[in-house]
């Protein structure tokens, strides 16, 4: 494994299998009365979140705590960042406090990479701008493999604002790496022009794709970007690209409905559809903790030179 996890390009197909297999063991830990193991006792993990996030930060915090690591949460508001400290100075401060790993969320693409140039510990990208969100992609891969038994050959549609979605990028790279067949669907204004080079298909017609899917992955409509007029109205978006009850009925019976959250019910996904049994959105959240435990364990659990026997 690479020292850092900045992008899905940092992990090989073998690494993905190892991460998911290890996560399986952490899922078992999550079912125990005492959901904690001493694997990372004495290590310090810093959650360095400079963009609003609840679920990813809580998920990483729980993951690190269940591994017995010490966790420090460092967010933008009410800290030195709000007082105008630069990213570099904040990073050097965390470094000086002995952070073994820094989990960073930032609104600027590439900031995790920048961070690796200043700190000695491991850097995990928890979402950077419109670039990547590899831990989300890995938990989605885990969920698909768990529910459908394989990744190779799966037919997956990723629907919505692909252009601004770090989730869509990471997930596409991950799925293509594992041999799945990916179709990006959305209004032409929201499909990145370089998408064909990712090894994926592009479609503007959701109805022709839905009946042949194993997974229908809905992206959140980022309402904060609505004013930029990428599409005429939320209502029209829902009618043309939303996963409505009628469209969900066209999905094959075993197909999964997934969403990275937080959902806009009634926009990209109808409320009834989000509550269907094949919608595994809550499982994605549960699996996220196990996958992040697996990543922290695999990154922080190695790195030594000596060998002990047993």
């Amino acid at each position: 494994m690479n020292k850092h996890l900045l992008s899905m390009h940092d992990v090989s197909a073998d690494d993905v299998v190892r991460i998911l297999d290890t996560a399986e063991s952490f899922r078992e830990v999550g079912t125990r009365v005492i959901k904690k193991v001493p694997a990372l006792r004495g290590r310090t993990v810093v959650n360095f979140f400079l963009e609003n996030s609840t679920r990813t930060r809580i998920s990483f915090e729980l993951a690190a705590k269940r591994l017995s690591a010490d966790v420090i949460n460092f967010s933008a508001s009410g800290t030195s960042v709000a007082k105008g400290e630069s990213l570099k100075d904040s990073a050097l401060t965390l470094q000086a406090m002995g952070a073994d790993a820094i989990v960073i969320r930032h609104s600027s693409s590439g900031s995790p990479l920048q961070l690796t140039r200043w700190v000695q510990g491991h850097v995990l990208n928890a979402g950077d701008g419109t670039h990547e969100h590899p831990t989300q992609a890995l938990l989605d891969l885990y969920t698909m493999r768990e529910k459908l038994g394989r990744l190779e050959g799966l037919r997956v549609a990723i629907v919505g604002d692909v252009l601004h979605s770090r989730v869509a990028r990471s997930l596409s790279f991950g799925l293509v790496k594992m041999g799945a067949e990916v179709t990006l669907i959305g209004p032409p204004t929201l499909i990145p022009p370089d998408a064909p080079q990712w090894g994926v298909n592009v479609s503007y017609d959701i109805d022709s794709v839905v009946p042949k899917l194993d997974v229908c992955y809905m992206l959140r409509v980022q309402k904060e970007r609505q004013r930029l007029e990428f599409f005429p109205s939320v209502r029209e978006y829902n009618r043309i690209f939303g996963l409505t009850s009628a469209r969900a009925a066209m999905l094959p019976e075993e197909a999964l409905i997934m969403h990275p959250g937080p959902m806009n019910r009634g926009v990209e996904i109808d409320s009834d559809v989000a509550d269907l049994p094949q919608a595994v959105i809550e499982e994605q959240v549960t699996n996220g903790i196990a996958v992040r435990m697996s990543l922290l364990y695999l990154l922080l659990g190695g790195g030594g030179a000596g060998a002990l026997d047993g």
Partner: protein, 167 residues
């Protein structure tokens, strides 16, 4: 190996008075197969059903972060409550005792057994912790640098104890 396991099965029944509240917990990756065979033997002799679990001790190891790669993780599956039971830990080779220390810590996080006993197929000496086995298949004198491996049919296609002497 079969005779050694049969003898251990008899010893467990004798020591634990019919083995009525005994559960076997094998340590992955070989001990779990030995535990299953021990359970079959005890059932054959006593006619009582013995519950078997498998325990992975990786997250409790004392050398995490010392090797280049994080140690490989195996499955833990103990589908019953171990509280109040006599847990017989089963492992293939007893060496430094560090694995058993980790296994006992792991068990304590899963419940409160009434007592924990240890059964091993091979005791090769060189303990680094104050740990001893209650049931031993065979004592094998070795040098510290030797390599001792137990092969089981389920994983290796054959039952054998292999001692590779250090050069």
């Amino acid at each position: 190996m079969r005779r050694a396991l049969t003898r251990i099965a008899h010893e467990i029944i004798e020591r634990d008075k019919g083995a009525t509240d005994v559960v076997l917990v094998g340590i992955a990756n070989r001990g779990d197969h030995l535990a299953r065979r021990l359970a079959t033997e005890i059932q054959r002799i006593e006619g009582t059903e013995i519950r078997v679990g498998v325990l992975d001790i990786t997250f409790y190891r004392d050398d995490i972060g010392l090797k280049a790669e994080a140690p490989e993780v195996h499955e833990t599956r103990i589908p019953f409550d171990i509280s109040g039971t006599t847990v017989v830990l089963v492992d293939d080779v007893l060496f430094t005792g560090r694995t058993i220390r980790a296994a006992m810590d792991a068990l304590m996080d899963l419940g409160r057994p009434r007592r924990i006993q240890l059964a091993v197929l091979v005791d090769r000496g060189h303990r680094e912790l104050p740990i001893r086995a209650d049931f031993v298949g065979k004592n094998v004198p070795t040098r510290r640098a030797d390599d001792v491996r137990v092969l089981v049919t389920e994983l290796d296609g054959d039952d054998a104890v292999v001692v590779e002497e250090a050069p």
